[in-house]
């Protein structure tokens, strides 16, 4: 079975992002996910000129059982549809797609997607829990061997890439180095100290072969995205950003074990879907936002979505190709490695800001098409256009 592209194309450009917002990003003692998300929501409403009463779809996400019902109660709204999807950062792309579908089908007119994360304040380590987490068995089903944390699953894959293709950790350093350069140009970013290959290589391992600089930050913050119909979008404050393409492909076989296939059979199907629906190709992508809980994610996303050949991402990411000014700027905000760990939500915000031309010193010239990719056993991608 492949996606029915003819039917998918009928909802191309039928939802538009009109408002984006974020709270401050960092460490905020006594903060909580709801307060952080609501701050971001206010900023997103202000960004587009809509009021909270316009929202008839409420999607809420965040680590630690953030409830969409409780959020709606706090906001005092009764939307038509509320939802969350408790698979951590893998949920972001699918939830953006769900919002677009709710709008394209007419079930909702305006969907607010709110994200709140107080992981730094709450002391969340993303490892060491002894409950098997549905959807994240790969990092929680074998804790009796000491296997825990999504980082370990990525470390297994990094080792496989190094061993199979002769790539190296020093080559992988190009990813966090590029993103750190981008973060330095981003007022919202947390990490600003320049990074070098030497510093990367000398840094401590968390789960070897991944170094601390290959890992995302853990911090507090909130993000909000507001999506509506193209008709409604026309008379709002800013130029709409359209959802032109959506791709998704899950991998459940073998999913209790850290993934050993590097998603070679499955992720390309998400690529076929997203490019097929949007009617654009890889060469049309002006900036790429990649879910980067770990640096190695960028390599698998580039390879499995066809930006480079299988096994060649190590070479492909050298020489500034993925930096601003390079052929394919990746994570121009600094991503999870340097800007803030908002589990893919700030990647959506950056895509919108780039397409609006709001990015100042980190603006990609003539930016018209931006793609989001998240690898994993729930692989998802979106293509946005202005």
């Amino acid at each position: 079975m492949a996606a029915d592209l003819q039917r998918l194309k009928q909802i191309k450009d039928r939802a538009a992002i009109v408002g984006v917002g974020a709270s401050e990003q960092g460490t905020f003692p006594d903060s909580d996910p709801y307060s952080l998300a609501i701050k971001a929501f206010r900023n997103a409403l202000d960004d587009c000129g809509l009021k909270k009463g316009d929202v008839d779809g409420l999607i809420v996400q965040g680590p630690g059982n953030v409830s969409f019902v409780r959020m709606g109660e706090m906001l005092g709204i009764n939307p038509v549809v509320g939802a969350n999807f408790d698979v951590g950062g893998l949920a972001t792309g699918p939830l953006m797609q769900y919002a677009a579908m709710l709008i394209a089908t007419g079930m909702c007119e305006t969907v607010a997607l709110l994200y709140g994360n107080a992981s730094r304040t709450e002391g969340r380590k993303f490892g060491g829990d002894t409950t098997v987490t549905p959807g994240r068995e790969y990092s929680s089903a074998f804790y009796y061997y000491g296997l825990t944390s999504p980082g370990a699953a990525s470390a297994f894959q990094a080792r496989m890439h190094f061993e199979t293709y002769g790539s190296t950790s020093a080559q992988l350093a190009a990813v966090p180095i590029a993103q750190r350069k981008h973060a330095i140009l981003n007022p919202q970013a947390i990490k600003k100290e320049p990074l070098t290959v030497e510093k990367h290589q000398a840094s401590k391992f968390i789960c070897e072969p991944l170094h601390v600089y290959d890992y995302c930050l853990i911090n507090d913050g909130g993000v909000a995205v507001i999506m509506t119909t193209p008709e409604r979008a026309r008379d709002l404050k800013k130029k709409p950003v359209y959802v032109a393409g959506m791709g998704r492909q899950d991998t459940y076989r073998g999913s209790s074990i850290p993934n050993a296939t590097l998603w070679r059979e499955t992720m390309p199907k998400a690529a076929d879907m997203v490019y097929g629906m949007a009617g654009v190709g890889r060469e049309d992508i002006d900036a790429l936002m990649v879910y980067d809980s770990f640096s190695i994610n960028i390599w698998f996303s580039l390879e499995n979505f066809g930006f480079c050949k299988i096994g060649e991402a190590g070479d492909f990411t050298q020489g500034g190709r993925i930096e601003l000014g390079g052929a394919l700027p990746v994570n121009t905000h600094g991503g999870h490695l340097s800007e803030s760990y908002m589990q893919g939500w700030l990647h959506q915000v950056e895509a919108v800001r780039q397409l609006r031309g709001e990015c100042g010193p980190r603006q990609v010239k003539d930016c018209e098409i931006v793609q989001y990719i998240c690898r994993g056993n729930l692989a998802a991608s979106l293509i946005y256009r202005n």
């Binding site: 804790y143 009796y144 061997y145 825990t148 080792r159 789960c207 070897e208 074990i257 050993a260």
Partner: protein, 135 residues
């Protein structure tokens, strides 16, 4: 001394695996219709959808597919073993298991042959681990 590390939570479906491990046998479900070995446990064959299976004793031999070394201590009960390895092991029969390899971390290599050994954690639970095997 009491075993302080995390212990498996066991579905009734997985009980025969752990009963065998207690006898220091590695047994996996094998489909009676297509012969496909599966791990972790499932009530049906992922290949041919058959409900018929038996818990077959397997060789306990395999090769290291990938491995990591934990330098961050997420479980206090592992503190004495830092840094410790976790490996993915492709069994000769096909399935991939996760385990610890009882060897110095810097001696682990891709495709290295290993064989199962059992660590008696509690009177009820013995945990399959692996050690380097002859070629």
């Amino acid at each position: 001394m009491d075993y302080s590390k995390p212990l498996p939570s066991i579905l009734p479906l997985e009980r025969p695996f752990w009963d065998a491990a207690r006898r220091h046998e590695l047994r996996l479900q094998c489909c009676k219709d297509c012969g496909h070995y599966r791990y972790p446990a499932s009530p049906v064959c992922a290949d041919c959808d058959s409900d018929a299976y038996e818990w077959q004793r397997v060789s306990g031999r395999g090769r290291i597919l990938s491995w990591v070394v934990f330098h961050r201590c997420y479980f206090p009960s592992f503190a004495d073993e830092m840094p410790y390895n976790v490996a993915m092991i492709a069994l000769d029969e096909g399935p991939v298991m996760v385990s610890n390899v009882l060897a110095p971390n810097d001696t682990l290599r891709g495709n290295m042959p290993v064989e199962v050994v059992f660590e008696d954690a509690t009177p009820e639970i013995s945990i399959p681990k692996f050690r380097p095997a002859a070629q």
